[in-house]
């Protein structure tokens, strides 16, 4: 076992365990905190894969902005206690069985995938900031600019939706 394999197993274990805790824990605030742990583990995987730009963006955007937004909404709605009424057991069992069958199906589907030629990484520094920035601002210039319009419309929509109506 090499060091990178230990690192992979540690991060994977952390990600899967905290992802399970997200859906098991009854308290929504705890769920948000476990999801932050999952995102940090995924960021660690990005560092292993040498995608440093995406690792930083993942920390800033996901754990910094999106999760704080979730936490803010939960605390503003005062949902930090267990108000979820107890569900009957049959839908829970059905959910677990169908998700498990889906997972088995996907694993069986991807088991025979032909990935032998992918064992060696050729160009290791594609995820660095200067390479990615060149690609982003040359080939993907138009989608980059359009995404700013998307953000503007999302901002207007969010403000409009959450505004109290005045009659």
């Amino acid at each position: 076992m090499q060091l990178s394999q230990y690192l992979f197993f540690f991060l994977s274990f952390l990600a899967v365990l905290s992802a399970l805790m997200v859906i098991i824990d009854k308290n929504p605030v705890h769920s948000v905190l476990y999801l932050i742990v999952t995102f940090f583990a995924i960021t660690g995987h990005y560092f292993i894969l040498n995608a440093q730009f995406l690792a930083i963006v993942n920390i800033i955007v996901y754990t910094g902005a999106i999760m704080v937004l979730f936490l803010y909404v939960i605390m503003m709605l005062n949902l930090n206690k267990e108000i979820e009424p107890h569900k009957k057991n049959i839908p829970k069992v059905a959910a677990v069985i169908s998700a498990g069958v889906f997972m088995l199906f996907l694993i069986a589907l991807l088991k025979g995938a032909e990935t032998n030629m992918l064992t060696a990484a050729r160009n290791s520094n594609i995820g660095l900031m200067d390479n990615l920035g060149k690609v982003l601002f040359k080939e993907y210039m138009l989608p980059f600019e359009i995404s700013s319009v998307l953000f503007l419309s999302a901002m207007v929509g969010a403000v409009f939706l959450s505004k109290k109506e005045i009659h």
Partner: protein
């Protein structure tokens, strides 16, 4: 940084992404709080992002990482609008339980 990836076959990343995605699917089916369901959707997006970054690294292709960046952009916009809709639902029904929203159910 070049030799960090060597001992890890891409199959492991495929399995990890499948497991994380299925945990997200299970959460969507399992929980009734709309905020938790939304968080599980984010988890599924992250599983797919991880798989795409792994493939881009093993193929040596830059386009996939740019695409992951755009997925993050769209996810941020989606979260802003979705949480505004949840606030609206909470203001009208005083709960975030999805079982109270059954007007469109046939």
């Amino acid at each position: 940084m070049k030799e960090v990836i060597i001992g890890i076959p891409i199959q492991w990343y495929i399995y990890l992404s499948v497991i994380l995605f299925c945990i997200g699917v299970m959460g969507v089916l399992f929980r009734r709080n709309a905020i938790i369901i939304f968080m599980c959707v984010e988890l599924m997006l992250n599983a797919v992002n991880l798989l795409m970054v792994a493939f881009s690294r093993y193929f040596g292709d830059t386009g996939a990482q740019v695409f992951v960046f755009f997925v993050m952009v769209v996810a941020a916009a989606e979260v802003a609008v979705g949480l505004a809709i949840l606030m609206m639902i909470y203001r009208n029904t005083k709960s975030t339980d999805i079982d109270t929203l059954n007007k469109l159910k046939w």
